[in-house]
């Protein structure tokens, strides 16, 4: 969160600077604010106030607390209140420690790995499905509704579904046995080299529908006349797809990719239910890492440091990204 966003006063002050006239005032010919506009400004301030306060409550205060704790060696282990944390002040020792924390960096790398595999997979599958659904065909509405259901399933429940499916005596091995004629008893979730793949499959199952939904909305929005015009000019289906459809849904594609990247970065529910981050640390992503270090090791000042580093990095990245999008 940018510093200016932190207090409602600062926000209104900034709003007043960048936009001295409310929309309705533009047409008015009297320079000073009319009573109606003043009323609008007051009401606008009051109506936005609860949300502003909640933002301060959940962002500003926790961030400051987090910053403070991260500069100490405080832990709740000995019953010491967090306000007493200054007694173990250690400046940037936690930060130095994070830089050398192999488990943290591999959790971060693993998170990126899941993103690198799942986002393109979900995109390609979703796009393929969306292409099938552009034209009308009998049963389209029903199939469409069915294909959307995975993303509505509670992620923790989806995690449990795949936990069952991937049991060594479970149906996935059952299907594989039928297909291969062998007795497949792979222990997917307790094999460190397969557990992450299982988690990825579960995520792809659950979130391909989101890509499908968004990309289909984009494809349907491509003007039909332009596609017909291209056909009349001799373009094949593939040429139409490449020269008309893809360029027209570029923004939609970017939105879909960004949404999934952001969400997978936070991946926790389905993964934690399936593997608990294990076996060992083989499926430990950044959220699981933080959760475990918090509740198991109780090194809260250290966790605060990790969390803060992630928040600051994300802020920089998203502020940059949002600015880029704004310019478009």
């Amino acid at each position: 969160m940018t510093p200016e966003a932190m207090t409602p006063e600062a926000m209104t002050a900034k709003a007043a600077m960048s936009d001295p006239l409310p929309a309705s005032a533009r047409r008015s010919h009297t320079p000073p604010e009319s009573p109606l506009e003043a009323e609008g400004r007051r009401l606008g301030f009051l109506m936005a106030l609860p949300t502003q306060l909640l933002l301060v409550f959940i962002v500003v205060f926790p961030l400051l607390m987090q910053l403070y704790i991260s500069l100490t060696a405080w832990t709740p282990l000995y019953g010491q209140n967090w306000t007493q944390a200054w007694q173990s002040w250690n400046w940037f020792e936690n930060y130095a420690e994070v830089m050398q924390d192999g488990r943290f960096w591999s959790a971060l790398w693993r998170t990126f790995l899941v993103i690198i595999v799942c986002v393109p997979a979900q995109f390609l599958l979703g796009l393929g499905l969306a292409i099938l659904f552009v034209e009308n065909f009998p049963g389209k509405r029903v199939f469409y509704s069915v294909l959307l259901t995975p993303m509505m399933v509670v992620p923790a429940v989806a995690g449990y579904m795949f936990f069952m499916l991937f049991q060594s005596g479970g149906p996935i091995n059952g299907i594989l046995s039928d297909l291969t004629g062998l007795n497949v008893t792979t222990a997917w979730l307790s094999d460190p080299s397969l557990a992450l793949a299982a988690v990825m499959i579960a995520d792809i199952w659950q979130w391909t529908p989101l890509m499908f939904l968004i990309l289909l909305a984009g494809l349907i929005g491509v003007p039909e006349d332009q596609l017909k015009a291209a056909t009349l000019l001799g373009a094949s289906w593939w040429q139409r797809f490449r020269t008309i459809m893809l360029p027209r849904i570029r923004t939609v594609i970017v939105i879909a990719l960004v949404i999934r990247t952001v969400e997978i970065f936070k991946i926790f529910d389905n993964l934690y239910i399936m593997t608990g981050g294990g076996p060992g640390v083989s499926t430990e992503t950044i959220s699981v890492y933080i959760y475990k270090v918090t509740l198991q090791n109780l090194e809260w000042s250290y966790v605060a440091t990790v969390a803060l580093i992630i928040l600051v990095s994300l802020s920089v990245v998203t502020a940059f990204g949002l600015k880029l999008m704004d310019r478009r």
Binding site: D225, L232, A235
Partner: protein, 363 residues
């Protein structure tokens, strides 16, 4: 370059018949306007010719080739959409080059052709521009140029002027006619605007409810409408149609226009029947009330539209519109005589609406 022959063309959507056994021949290099109100089947006809839709029955031939199994991309048809369907994410150049690139022509050849078309259409200064945000007359030329670049045998234009504001239409009409001469292709122009059809086309085909009503040169269709639909659809204000009775007087056919009086009927009219008396507003002359044979009527409204004065006249529930010149001295409430030019009187069967002195429609 090609002629187009449609025979027995029929298109049904479920129980709705959009086009009903349409027979029409369009000669090579002809400019034909397909005219009719919305829903009359003209756009469906056009889509079938382009291959965007398959007919339920009938054939489409270009010269002697049956086109029904030729996919839309290979028919050699240039299509200008109502909204132009410009690829707004591409530059003007890329739009014109599109069809050529899809054919995989060499770069140099594409470039030469694009420049040639752009020059012809006056698009050269815009070649590098993004096509989004160009003004409508440039978009129209671009839409034509994009189709023309691949040298289609046939040009189809789907109401290309309906999104243009009225002030600009006249300019665009002239430009379009000019372009058609320039390219020399067979052109079908779909429109619901009779003025567009009249001013541009070599021939007009009038459609209503899926049925072709009349085909002919603009003057022919205007002067000799085959039925009351065509009579009403062409001309603004449209032809006056009044209930009347055809009879004979002294061995000559006369029409008794209900409540107004008697006029001589066209020589071709025979017998006695209930008819509709049709006369174009410009074929009425306002005279003194005591002129023999004049209908005596009261002026109920006067529209002064620049060069013309449209006089609305009424008597006993019968209404007529007459056109006079600019500044014609008339006021509401005046009692006047109205005389119809005998040679301009058209009679229609009161029950069927068909012209009594109908000449067979060609095409």
């Amino acid at each position: 370059m090609a002629s187009i022959t449609l025979s027995g063309l029929t298109k049904t959507f479920g129980t709705f018949t959009a086009v009903k056994s349409l027979d029409l021949h369009i000669a090579d290099k002809e400019f034909l306007a397909l005219l009719g109100p919305s829903g009359c089947g003209k756009s469906t006809t056009m889509n079938i010719i382009a291959g965007m839709e398959q007919p339920s029955a009938g054939t489409v031939r270009f010269d002697d080739r049956d086109m029904l199994n030729v996919p839309m991309g290979r028919r050699g048809v240039g299509f200008v959409f109502q909204n132009y369907a410009i690829f707004t994410h591409m530059s003007v150049y890329d739009n014109i080059a599109y069809g050529l690139r899809m054919r995989g022509l060499p770069k140099a050849e594409i470039d030469a052709r694009v420049r040639q078309v752009a020059e012809l259409l006056g698009l050269t200064p815009f070649l590098k521009q993004k096509s989004a945000g160009l003004s409508v007359n440039i978009l129209q030329r671009l839409a034509i140029g994009r189709s023309a670049a691949v040298n289609p045998q046939i040009f189809l234009l789907d109401e290309p002027l309906s999104n243009v504001d009225a002030a600009f239409r006249a300019v665009m009409r002239t430009e379009l006619k000019h372009l058609q001469r320039e390219f020399g292709q067979t052109m079908i122009y779909v429109t619901h605007d009779q003025l567009e059809a009249m001013t541009m086309a070599d021939r007009i085909a009038v459609m209503d409810r899926g049925v072709l009503q009349q085909v002919g040169s603009p003057i022919e269709v205007y002067n000799n409408p085959v039925n009351t639909f065509v009579a009403r659809f062409l001309g603004s204000p449209s032809m006056n149609l009044l209930p009347a009775r055809l009879g004979t007087e002294d061995g000559r056919p006369v029409v008794e226009v209900t409540g107004l009086g008697r006029v001589a009927a066209p020589a071709s009219a025979r017998g006695s029947a209930d008819v509709l008396f049709g006369i174009r507003p410009e074929d009425l002359t306002i005279t003194a009330t005591d002129l023999p044979g004049a209908f005596v009527m009261e002026v109920v409204f006067v529209e002064r539209v620049g060069p013309r004065t449209i006089v609305h006249l009424a008597r006993d529930g019968q209404e007529l519109k007459a056109i006079e010149g600019n500044g014609f001295p008339v006021a509401i409430g005046d009692r006047l005589g109205v005389v119809a030019k005998p040679e301009s009187v058209r009679l229609f069967d009161a029950a069927t609406g068909q012209a009594l002195d109908k000449e067979p429609a060609d095409g």
